[in-house]
């Protein structure tokens, strides 16, 4: 990683308070990981609320969850996983100093990120049309329980709670995606201008870590929100 030791002139990207590139890179990487840990705890608060209420009101949550579109959810999962691939390939390209390839992969990532957000927007619109958005207009006709008369009637308030959590969790996740897309847009520009070299591509790597993390969050959100008791 640090071929730079051979070079006598300090890398222009070396900041004044670091002794060498290696130290700077390690600091950035540790910093990024620590930041991701804070993100774990940030999402953790929501997962905690979700877990408790899902255990308490399982049937209502299951019913409400049936109204989500698995097709769209699964598509988005695939889109996000693909974007993780393009990110890791971008880092790979950067490591080998292939500028054009790097820019290409970054662009692909941005496109995939936007696709995800677009699909999400479609889902939100659907929910809006179906009056599944919590608030005064909320109405959850348990049509999703049709053919299951043995099931208890759905408690509207708990179904509403499911959607509250759904919107908060996916909303926060989408916000992270938007930030990620913004980040990558900036990086693409800089990469195009040739800011990153074999010896210095830390920002690409760090943004990549962030993107993968957002992906991992979705990997959990998808089964938790979309796949409750689908077999019924």
């Amino acid at each position: 990683m640090s071929h730079s030791s051979a070079a006598t002139a300090p890398n222009p990207a070396l900041r004044h308070h670091f002794a060498e590139m290696e130290q700077q890179k390690n600091a950035a990487s540790l910093g990024m990981w620590l930041f991701l840990v804070t993100e774990i705890m940030f999402f953790g608060g929501m997962f905690c609320a979700y877990l408790i209420y899902r255990l308490q009101h399982f049937n209502d949550f299951a019913a409400a969850s049936q109204s989500l579109s698995i097709k769209l959810g699964a598509t988005n999962t695939a889109v996000l996983i693909t974007s993780s691939l393009t990110v890791v390939l971008a880092v790979h390209a950067a490591r080998h100093g292939k500028r054009k390839l790097l820019v290409l992969y970054l662009l692909a990532t941005i496109v995939l990120g936007c696709t995800f957000l677009g699909v999400k927007a479609v889902e939100y619109t659907d929910k809006f049309k179906e009056h599944h958005v919590p608030g005064p207009s909320f109405n959850f006709a348990p049509e999703y329980m049709q053919g299951h008369p043995e099931q208890s009637p759905v408690d509207m308030r708990h179904a509403e709670m499911f959607f509250s959590l759904y919107f908060v969790m996916t909303g926060m996740h989408a916000l992270h995606m938007i930030i990620g897309v913004g980040l990558f847009s900036g990086l693409t520009w800089l990469a195009w201008k040739g800011r990153y070299t074999k010896d210095y591509y830390t920002p690409i790597e760090m943004a990549g870590l962030y993107w993968h993390f957002v992906d991992v969050v979705w990997i959990y959100l998808f089964p938790l929100l979309y796949l409750i008791s689908r077999h019924r």
Partner: protein, 546 residues
């Protein structure tokens, strides 16, 4: 004293290297950022203290006569919020920590200087928000924001206050992140973990809490705001939610947060006591690891704030038990500090006086924490003035005493000037007396049953005498806090020039000039000595000795 003489004597340092507002507002020098913090945090302390004085004045008489009930409720809420989020949590890490962490480990700066500056700006944005919130109506929920009152009943500015705490929280997260990376990656050659000053250990432990706890309060605030704004049913029982879940999430952060406050002050005490005892600290390893122990165990006890909240009886048992566990590392520290003085060579400069105050008052605060952790007692005293007294004993008697001790200890390094020793001792004495007079009566009030957050106690006139004592004490306390303000400012111009190492102390920060240069050291120091190496520092007279 002629000013020209001083100018001649001054070397180039971080203070006089550049001038002008811009050189401060855009600085990435950790020392300058520390001073920015110092000014803004002091400002908030006096705002919070001003509210405290109004609270005490209102409680002078049983009737609610000075302010309206709503105003009173806003007063203690804003007092608590300002003191906790804008004063006590950042105070030591952001000022002394910022100033000292790189210097003590022989680094030129923190790992991410620009993020450090960003932290200050976030703090200021939060500060401006909370000021705006206060000036346009304030919040009346208590600093604990319990739902459903906060989400569905009050019509005060919850969202804005929440946003302020949210933003300030990120400032705290970034500070913690910066410290951890710095300690891991930027230590000077030879500065091994077992040579780290205990102040660094305590900052490190604090940073762990900041990083792992703060995000949870952030998301909790988001959920409260979402519930308030969009009527999402998450905590509101009308919508099927459980208000206790809010309390769990809130205290998951806010209990560890009390250790964010105390740990750095403990670090300061661990520096002061060896220095003024001329001794290596007793049981270095245990004091260092107990900081980490507190940081970890501190996360296991949060629900001791909820014993009567309607939680499961069995969970209450677990949390009570764990609360006792977390007291062990604190006990270890107290005993080791005491043992450090044994066979020392002790002198009584102002910092040491504050250290004595810390030991005395923190012990009382901590021991009464055990009362609260004990289930049977807590049922009676929770939400009474007993709790108020407990936490002021720790937060004011402990944290603030430690902070003031640290400010006096490092003031020569920060400003390059000595503070007036006589005044310093006098102020320490006033603070000590005023403090005890203010808060000791509250223990009695609490056990008598006076609930906290009461604006009016006209049906309970028997509580008045103790309240009068408390109010009297708080005015003395106020004077005690104003004094250091005044003489610190005075000393910046008229104080004696400080030598590089006035206290003849160990530690890298004393090996550079006072005030230090921009990159702290002309050459990266190589550490070949243990921490608190007082054995090898020849004793000599230090200022204030007589």
């Amino acid at each position: 004293m002629s000013t020209t003489a001083i100018a001649v004597a001054e070397h180039e340092n971080y203070l006089n290297k550049e001038y002008g507002i811009k050189s401060w507002l855009l600085t990435t020098d950790h020392k300058r950022i520390a001073l920015l913090y110092l000014m803004s945090i002091t400002f908030f302390f006096f705002i919070g203290g001003f509210f405290a004085l109004l609270i005490r004045l209102e409680l002078l008489t049983p009737a609610g006569d000075l302010v309206q009930a709503d105003t009173y409720n806003k007063l203690f809420t804003m007092h608590g919020m300002v003191m906790v989020f804008f004063f006590l949590i950042p105070v030591v890490p952001a000022t002394l920590g910022n100033f000292l962490v790189p210097m003590m480990i022989g680094a030129k700066d923190l790992a991410f200087p620009r993020i450090n500056l960003l932290s200050w700006y976030l703090y200021m944005i939060g500060g401006v928000l909370i000021m705006h919130c206060m000036l346009t109506g304030g919040v009346d929920t208590g600093w604990t924001f319990y739902t459903p009152y906060s989400t569905a009943f009050t019509n005060t500015k919850i969202i804005e206050a929440g946003l302020a705490a949210f933003v300030a929280g990120f400032s705290s997260i970034f500070t913690g992140l910066n410290f951890i990376v710095t300690v891991h990656r930027m230590r000077a050659p030879g500065m091994t973990w077992s040579r780290l000053p205990l102040f660094i250990w305590s900052q490190y432990a604090t940073s762990i809490i900041m990083i792992l706890g703060t995000p949870v309060i952030a998301i909790t605030i988001v959920l409260v705001a979402a519930e308030r704004l969009f009527h999402l049913g998450i905590f509101d029982p009308k919508l099927g939610g459980d208000p206790l879940l809010f309390q769990h999430l809130f205290w998951f952060y806010s209990h560890p947060a009390v250790y964010i406050m105390i740990l750095p002050s403990m670090g300061i005490i661990s520096e002061i006591i060896p220095c003024f005892s001329r001794k290596r600290i007793f049981g270095y390893k245990f004091v260092a690891l107990s900081s980490i122990g507190i940081a970890v165990l501190g996360f296991l006890v949060w629900a001791h704030h909820m014993f009567v909240a309607g939680m499961s009886v069995y969970a209450a048992l677990v949390f009570s038990f764990l609360s006792f566990l977390v007291a062990i590392p604190s006990a270890i520290k107290i005993f080791n500090w005491t043992a450090t003085m044994y066979k020392g060579s002790i002198s009584y400069q102002t910092p040491m006086l504050y250290a004595f105050g810390f030991l005395g008052l923190f012990t009382i605060g901590g021991l009464t924490g055990l009362f609260l952790a004990s289930l049977g007692i807590d049922v009676h005293v929770t939400d009474t003035y007993f709790v108020v007294a407990h936490f002021h004993y720790i937060m004011v008697g402990g944290v603030l005493m430690g902070y003031l001790g640290g400010m006096h200890f490092w003031w020569p390094k920060i400003s390059g000037r000595m503070y007036p020793e006589g005044w310093g001792r006098l102020a320490a004495l006033i603070v000590f007396i005023g403090f005890n007079l203010t808060f000791f009566p509250q223990f009695i009030l609490g056990y008598l049953g006076m609930p906290r957050r009461y604006w009016d106690y006209s049906h309970m006139p028997e509580f008045q005498i103790l309240n009068v004592l408390s109010t009297a004490g708080s005015t003395i306390l106020g004077v005690g806090y104003l004094l250091p303000m005044v003489y610190f400012l005075w000393s910046m111009r008229y104080g004696k020039l400080a030598p590089d190492n006035p206290w003849n102390a160990a530690g890298l920060e004393w090996k550079t000039s006072s005030p230090p240069t921009t990159y702290n050291f002309d050459e990266t120091p190589v550490v070949d000595f243990e921490a608190y190496d007082y054995e090898h520092i020849p004793d000599r007279e230090v200022p204030g000795e007589s």
